[in-house]
Symmetry: C2
Subunit: 131 residues, 2 copies
């Protein structure tokens, strides 16, 4: 699903920018840490935040992932959240924090961490001018 | 509209990731060059591409802009495209190419360049973990 031409980007320490659909059908977008296992993009999230409510209402998302070493290279991954897994100890949060920041990161008391599993349905890759 | 705490990010050589709504109500997301003048985010675009059709159908967009020097700092700008200006010579394209790449960039023959003017309606700023 991920073209070989751009697969190397996913091995870099780069965020995805995730677009979701808000309660009034409007787009929302934020950077997120992710892990790609060849089948799903996994992200950590809390149940309290807007994005969690958004993907419950509409599981379709888009990810924009840009090569930090060559900003004209990027991929857009369209996909769906096809599983939400409880992660009470924040194991994914901590693993991602180590990958991105080289340090521990545990959930706050009372914070309900989940893992969003996003299955790609279409991938677009690009070069040239960004506009 | 842009909080002073995060305004410095807009002076850096960083892309915005723009979320738009596709023809089936699905989110789409790509990195784009931009220019901020204190009132609008200006972006160059061609009439041929999907994003241009998207914002004609629904002018609501979201921009995710991350500090390249401190990835935990970012802003999400929600806004609307409130003007589309013809740019046949690609003047904005060329100016952005100079800002981002230090070189000329002119439209291809037959390419119809426009400028999307995005007016912010809400800005969210963040820190801490990205998920």
């Amino acid at each position: 699903m991920i073209p070989k031409s751009h697969a190397d980007i996913l091995d870099k320490r780069v965020c995805a920018h995730i677009a979701t659909i808000g309660p009034r059908g409007e787009p929302q977008c934020q950077p997120v840490w992710f892990e790609w296992d060849g089948e799903h993009f996994s992200m950590t999230h809390t149940k309290a935040r807007q994005k969690y409510r958004n993907i419950h209402r509409d599981p379709r998302v888009a990810l924009s992932i840009q090569d930090p070493d060559d900003p004209l290279r990027y991929m857009e991954v369209r996909g769906v959240v096809d599983a939400i897994v409880e992660d009470p100890e924040g194991e994914l949060l901590n693993r991602l924090s180590h990958h991105y920041q080289g340090k521990d990161f545990r959930p706050r008391p009372g914070e309900e961490r989940v893992i969003l599993k996003i299955r790609p349905t279409k991938v677009n890759t690009h070069g040239r001018a960004l506009g």
